[in-house]
């Protein structure tokens, strides 16, 4: 699966347009926000008074449960890939390792939701196309790049400094996974250039919808 199928091309275009320039420095500055250009999801939701992750709960709880849902998906994906028998040797080890790390994210996020008095999001039932080693690696790359973008898209919406610190510690690990898979795939480690681009919850959820059975 190509990255363009996973990441909604419309919102990418919109982001580029809002970012208002071709140079990365311009994109960064736009992300830093001028008064008239509302570029981030957080400012958009601040205006409408609703949160992007409201369906998962209020405020930080909603963001944590959204992240938990994505981590469940990633962990299930790697578990299925390991079982598929498509990989062996060093590649299988990498997949196992990434899978273990996603499971640790699931555990940590579940604990964080409970600690805040919330109810952890349920584990979704998932199904992934596992046809060939190449297509699976492509999908893994897309999922990890999307996961990193998903965390980046929520960072500024998080209220609690402790929750933010945890989310940042996971975000950079997703970025590491994405770069490692891009390297395996012979793609650029930094497909967005010097400044990684965020993804909104809407974009992310739409992208993963095909893999969620119920």
């Amino acid at each position: 699966m190509s990255e363009s199928k996973i990441i909604d091309p419309v919102s990418r275009r919109k982001f580029m347009a809002l970012a208002g320039g071709s140079t990365a420095a311009a994109a960064f500055l736009a992300a830093c926000g001028s008064d008239d250009e509302m570029t981030t999801a957080s400012t958009a939701s601040a205006r409408t008074g609703t949160s992007e992750t409201a369906q998962f709960g209020k405020g930080d709880l909603g963001i944590l449960n959204y992240a938990l849902t994505l981590e469940y998906l990633e962990a299930a994906f790697y578990a299925d890939v390991v079982k598929s028998g498509l990989f062996k040797g060093a590649d299988l080890e990498t997949i196992r390792k990434f899978g273990r790390e996603e499971s640790e994210h699931v555990t940590a996020l579940t604990a964080a939701v409970k600690q805040m008095g919330g109810k952890p999001a349920p584990k979704p039932k998932t199904e992934f196309p596992l046809k060939s080693a190449k297509s699976v690696l492509e999908l893994a790359g897309s999922v990890e790049n999307l996961g990193a973008a998903a965390y980046l898209g929520q960072a500024a919406n998080i209220k609690s400094p402790a929750v933010l610190a945890s989310a940042l510690a996971i975000h950079s690990v997703e970025g590491r996974h994405a770069a490692a898979l891009n390297t395996l795939l012979g793609k650029s480690i930094t497909p967005d250039g010097a400044f990684a681009k965020p993804a909104t919850a809407k974009t992310v959820l739409k992208s993963v919808e095909p893999f969620i059975v119920s």
Binding site: A25, L29, V173, A194
Partner: protein
Amino acid sequence: MSHQELAQPELTGVEVIEDSGDLSRSDVILKGALAAGAVYGLGMVAPFVRTALAKSGGGDVGILNFALTLEYLETAFYEEAKTRAKARGELKSLIGLLARDEKQHVDALKATVMKLGGKPVAKPKFDFPYSTTAGFLKLAQTLEDTGVSAYNGAGPGIKSKEVLGAAGSIVQVEARHAAAIRLQNNKEPSPNAFDPALTEAQVLKAVEPLLA
């Protein structure tokens, strides 16, 4: 403390030098972050940076200036490495990419500091301790991992949502750099499920002497 007891001894030789002898606050925090990482390991970098930035009270401009100093260091490191690391092939192109990315971070951070009405800190001089390609790679890995931890530590102290989002877009790129360099070293791209950070309490005790 003897050399053998250091967690990341390669960081001890990284020098941050100001010609005038007058180090900026950002230079001092960067030196502290490197020292904290060298002595206690990379889990100490994020909480050290967080505590030091909070203590220095410079707000978002102070945090951005610290990030700028870190990016000055990384840019200088890779610019110099283009010749000094004696790299070839894949590694040579990677060094070129990293140098370009870090330079763009420098430019963007400078512009953002000015936009917020602040004055970008001056670029200090750096000295990096390595003499071989392998030595370069080892130091690059530690510096990139340190950079990730430093940004992750600074993040929760940022007030402006826009600045936080922008810092996030840089730290993800630093994490990607770290993974790529680790692969060059035949090391796991993500050694931990969480980029490490000790708790505030553990840190305060250990780094109090470094928080000048």
